[in-house]
C-alpha cells in the first residue's frame, strides 16, 4: 500500500451551469521517503490538488488516502508550505514559528519549544532576523521562514505548493539547494508542486505532469 494515494479524484467548483471541473480522474500514489514533483501550467489545478491532499478541501468524488486512512481534515502529519508564504504579518519570525511549534507539541514545556524554534530558524540561517517581522524580510527570507515553520512541526510528509514561484532565479537556485539539503537529512516524504520543469527535474525523484 502506498503512503499517499489518490483514487479517481474529481474536484469541481460551483453548481449546475456554473460548475467548472478543475480536476478529473486523478490517480496518484507516492511511496514513503519519495520526493515527487507535480508539474503543471498555471490554472491546471495544482493548488486545488495540494489542498485536497493537505485536507483544506474535500474531493467531489473519489478518495484521498494518507497511510491508508481517508483525509478528512488538516493534520500535523502533513506540513504545508504555501505559495505566498502566508506568514502572519503581526508576528515576528520567531513568533510565527513558535505558534506552529506550540500547536504541534502541546505537551512540551516552553524551554523545549523555544529551543526548537531557535534550531529551525537557525537551520534556515535566519537567526539574526528572528525578531524581525515578515515585512522587513526579502521574499527569499520569508519563504525560508515558511520552510522553518512547516518543518519545525515535525511532519511526516511535507507538501510544497510552488514554494519558490515568487522568487528571482538566483534566490530560487539557492533555496532549491537549501531545501534539498534539509530534506536529505531525514528523508521525509515530500511533494513539490511547481510550474518549472527544470526545478522538478533538479529536486525530485519522480515527476508527474498535470494536464489541464
Amino acid at each position: 500500500m502506498a503512503y499517499l494515494e489518490l483514487n479517481n479524484v474529481y474536484k469541481s467548483y460551483g453548481e449546475g451551469d456554473n460548475r467548472t471541473d478543475v480536476l478529473s480522474n486523478i490517480n496518484l500514489s507516492i511511496e514513503e521517503g519519495e520526493f515527487v514533483a507535480i508539474v503543471g501550467f498555471t490554472g491546471s489545478g495544482k493548488t486545488t490538488l495540494v489542498n485536497l491532499i493537505n485536507g483544506l478541501l474535500k474531493p467531489t468524488s473519489g478518495e484521498v488516502l494518507f497511510k491508508g486512512e481517508p483525509v478528512v481534515d488538516t493534520s500535523h502529519e502533513r506540513g504545508v508550505i504555501f505559495q505566498n508564504y502566508s506568514l502572519l504579518p503581526w508576528l515576528t519570525v520567531g513568533q510565527n514559528v513558535y505558534m506552529a511549534v506550540k500547536e504541534a507539541f502541546p505537551k512540551e514545556n516552553k524551554a523545549f519549544l523555544m529551543k526548537r524554534v531557535k534550531d529551525y530558524v537557525g537551520m534556515v540561517s535566519l537567526t539574526p532576523a528572528i525578531n524581525k517581522r515578515p515585512k522587513e524580510l526579502s521574499g527569499g527570507m520569508r519563504q525560508r521562514v515558511a520552510v522553518a515553520r512547516a518543518l519545525a512541526m515535525n511532519p511526516e510528509m511535507i507538501i510544497m505548493d510552488e514554494p519558490l514561484g515568487a522568487l528571482d532565479a538566483l534566490t530560487r537556485g539557492n533555496l532549491q539547494d537549501e531545501i534539498l539539503n534539509i530534506w536529505s537529512q531525514d528523508k521525509r516524504t515530500a511533494l513539490l508542486i511547481t510550474n518549472d520543469v527544470d526545478e522538478g527535474i533538479y529536486m525530485a525523484d519522480r515527476i508527474i505532469p498535470l494536464k489541464p
Partner: protein, 366 residues
Amino acid sequence: MEQDITLKKEGQGLAFLKPLVAKFTPKFQKGDLVPWLKKTGITLLSILLFLGLWHMGSKALYNKEANYKIEKALTEQGQAAADAERDCIASGESSCQPNTLPSPTQVWASLQTLIADHKVITADKAAFNEKMAATNAKLVAKGKNAIVYTGRASFVDIVLTSIKTVFAGFLLALLIAVPIGVVIGLSPSLRSAFNWFIQIFKPVSPVVWYLLVFMIVKTLYIGDSSDNAFVISFISVGLCAMWATLVNTAMGVSSVDKDYINVAKVLKLGTFQKIFKVILPSSLPLIFTGLRITLSVAWMVLIAIELLAQSQGLGLFVWEEFQNGANDSNAKIIVAMFVIGIIGFLLDRIMLSVQNMVSFNKNEGV
C-alpha cells in the same frame, strides 16, 4: 549637444549653492527646510486669510444691522432718535450694540473673559471647600453626605464634563460594538440575523436616541433624586456612535485574508486561538478605523445630546448662551465652537497614534 551643455551649466549652479544650503540647515535633513517652510507658511497664510475674511464679514454684518437700527429709529421716531441711536452705537454702549456675528477680536476677548471667570470660580470653590472642610469631616463621620460646591460651573469645568461624557460614551460603544461585531463577523447566519437591526438603527438621529434612552433611564432612576443627565447623555452618545465600529469590526472579521485562515487550519489552531491569534490581529486596522469614526461621531452628537439632557457640558453652554442673548454671548458661542473643533481634532490625532501603535501595517491610515 546644446542641451548637454545647458544641463551641465545648471548642475554647476546647484553645486555652487550646496554648501551654502548645508550651512543654513544644520538640524534638518538635506532638502527638508524648504518644504517645511512652505508647508507652515501656507498654513499660516491660510489662517490669516480666514481671520481676515471673518473680520470683514462680521464688520459688514455689523454695519448692516447698525444701519437698519438707525433707519428704523428715523422712520419711527424722527431725526433726533436716529441721531441718538447713532451716537449710542458709536459710543459702544452695550444696550444698543448690534447682536450679530462677532469679530475675531471680540471672540478673543470672550476667551479671556471665560478664563478669568474660571479663575474666579476656582478660587471661590477652593474657599468654599476650605470653609466647609471641618463641617464636612463631621458630616462624613456621622455617615452623612458631605456638602459639595454647587455654584456656577466654569468654562473649563464644562469642557471637562463634555470630555468625560464623550469618553464614557466611547467606552460604552467600544464594549458593545467590538464583541458584537466580532461575533456577527464570524457567523454569516448571525450576520444576516443582525443585518436588519443595524440597517434600521444606524441612520436614527441622535435626538431620537436621546429620547429613547431618556424613556428607559428615567424609569430606572424613578424615586432617585440624583442627577441622571450625565448617565443619559453618555449612553445616548455611545448608542449613536457605536455603529461605525460595529459595522467595521464585522467587516474586518468576516474579510480576513484567506491565507491566514488556511494557516490557522493547517496549524490546527483551536477556536479561541484562531480568533485571538489570527482573526483579531488581522482585523485590527479596520476595527480602529471604526473606532476613530465612532469617536468623532461621539464628539459631534455630544453637543446636541447635552443640550437636550441638560448635562453641564458644552452643548448646554452653547444653548444657554444663545438663549441668554447677552452682549458677548455670540462671541462665547464662537469660542465654544473653536474649543469643540480643536478638541475633536486632538481626539482624532490621539486615536490615530494609538492605531499606529497597535496595528501591524503602520502608517496606513492618515
